[in-house]
Symmetry: D3
Subunit: 137 residues, 6 copies
Amino acid sequence: MIYLTRKAEFSSSHFYRNPAWSDEENVRRFGKCANANGHGHNYTLEVTVAGEVDPVTGFVVDLKLLKDILEEQVVSVYDHRHLNYEVPEFKDSIPTTENIAVAIWKRLNGKIPGAALKRVRVYEMPDLFADYYGEQQ
Amino acid sequence: MIYLTRKAEFSSSHFYRNPAWSDEENVRRFGKCANANGHGHNYTLEVTVAGEVDPVTGFVVDLKLLKDILEEQVVSVYDHRHLNYEVPEFKDSIPTTENIAVAIWKRLNGKIPGAALKRVRVYEMPDLFADYYGEQQ
Amino acid sequence: MIYLTRKAEFSSSHFYRNPAWSDEENVRRFGKCANANGHGHNYTLEVTVAGEVDPVTGFVVDLKLLKDILEEQVVSVYDHRHLNYEVPEFKDSIPTTENIAVAIWKRLNGKIPGAALKRVRVYEMPDLFADYYGEQQ
Amino acid sequence: MIYLTRKAEFSSSHFYRNPAWSDEENVRRFGKCANANGHGHNYTLEVTVAGEVDPVTGFVVDLKLLKDILEEQVVSVYDHRHLNYEVPEFKDSIPTTENIAVAIWKRLNGKIPGAALKRVRVYEMPDLFADYYGEQQ
Amino acid sequence: MIYLTRKAEFSSSHFYRNPAWSDEENVRRFGKCANANGHGHNYTLEVTVAGEVDPVTGFVVDLKLLKDILEEQVVSVYDHRHLNYEVPEFKDSIPTTENIAVAIWKRLNGKIPGAALKRVRVYEMPDLFADYYGEQQ
Amino acid sequence: MIYLTRKAEFSSSHFYRNPAWSDEENVRRFGKCANANGHGHNYTLEVTVAGEVDPVTGFVVDLKLLKDILEEQVVSVYDHRHLNYEVPEFKDSIPTTENIAVAIWKRLNGKIPGAALKRVRVYEMPDLFADYYGEQQ
């Protein structure tokens, strides 16, 4: 068993708001992240898959295929988008780094032929990231 | 004469739109950057000043003072803001990396006691940045 | 369960010396790290906590609170300090990267409300780091 | 138990070719990586070992010794070499990132006194890396 | 006048050899870089252009066009190639970092509409790079 | 004319103190940097030289020779040292980033055969650096 990790990037807007709270409560809890015009980040995504090395190719997973899946399932949907307004999973959940990692797991899980999804890591900033390993852990 | 450079960061939203053009023309020229909901970046700012080293302190400029000036003049205005909607200089100019660099120069020039502003560098992404050296160059 | 990691930095001096050894033995074992005037590093700390995502906030842990805890428990004590002379846990243990990671675990464990401390990583240099996962592992 | 990780680098050439396939099939499967003149990378290696901290030294493993082992067992063999033509383990296996990680594990396992080899990570590019944890996992 | 810099990457093989010298002399002068099987690097290219900001677009140069020019003129020719064997300008000159920077300047100069080429920077490794500013400097 | 830049690193201790001031004044002016036990950094040095490319070697300067000069003139003197106590030029000047850059210029200028020293850049932290171009600029 070997683990392969590929990175991708997307640049998106978001803000933090719980609609059950008043504007004042949102600012008190989320500070400047509550600004409803949104702010943005260069997100970095690391996707880790695991499997046996195919002795014919030396690959766990075809790199081009993995890149295409990340592009189709995640980057084309998130990049240059406002996460709150344009990405369906954030209509009802706040696009925190934690929730973005879980959402990307759901988008990718079961879509990568021949390898198991093991970890989704999302960096919002170089000094802050979330890891999700699926429900088993 | 010695040059001192200090970095700062801000996370902002923006989009590219020329109001003189139709929506179609904006998309044709700016691609996905024209999305009016905005997208965002972790911008990195590098500000370079120059002067003689003060023999009493060993400094060109007091580092704490320089940090405070960057915070007050730039970061507090741009960070966690939507540049098009909330920063006055981008009411009438498109917040491209080039225009952001020029706007930051105007905000900082003449505000740093005892040292001359020499360069403003703005990274929109790690692989794209603009440098402005003022009008003299 | 999701894992959240936040980075912090501190710039400190240290040296390696076992008081049970002669000066010659310390130099033989620790090389230039034994220099009693000390040398220094920009340390990078990565702290990983885990927990359930709060559906109300989208957070495992409040980011501002986590940052304040790292500042209060670690950065304010270690930054711009000589670890051997000014940080109590290194009176009797050598401030190697390994020992620093364990010491920071002890400083943080049990102090983060609502989330479990999972890993402390300390980089002494970009090419050398130690990970501590607590006693259970 | 604490984990210590040390990085090393090597700059090598390689290409991807399965000798059981025609030239056309190799290009179809491996794209530009099949070019038999080879292309190259600055590889980054991260080696993680684990053990108890020696109370006398504060080390899991002597850093100088670990560096020397990486140099002798890996860097001196791989660096400035064409992996397909000059490194014996790639006579019969394709030097993919996955296979390189496994090969380095075999070179290092059992060679590090007093500490257990836990992980070998190989970056081929900053956005692609493989992790190998040995057969037990 | 404002300066815009865009990065690109290519992964290539090369070696250093002066055909006027014996094998021994090549090894004596170039060390392990003389190995005729080649070794390789992840090269990073930074191209800087300068011009006035177009008030209609906010751009010095259209970013998509600049990216396409770098791809067409440099990356498609150098990436996943053996520079000595497959890139014409290195038939008669050694592909050192210095010579690669000059060669890329010649490939790009005059090809970027509306902006002046100002600098070509080539990183062979993160700790070594060459800058070429054209003949005027 | 082409410019070649090579990086090196050193890990050192320092503190800021003007002996003409009281302890209180030193703290007031230099804050936590005035702590006389010292603190430390992983400094990164970038040295830029310029010259014509030698058509026989493709080099501005022999890379091994340049590395050896940096090692001998700077790294062996500064690395794992307390700059205030152990490096002669800081007996009478405060080891600020600015003064370190000037001191390294003086150590290197005239020592690099066949190439002109053009710039010394010293990073104290990733977000703070000083550039010195010699007296002519």
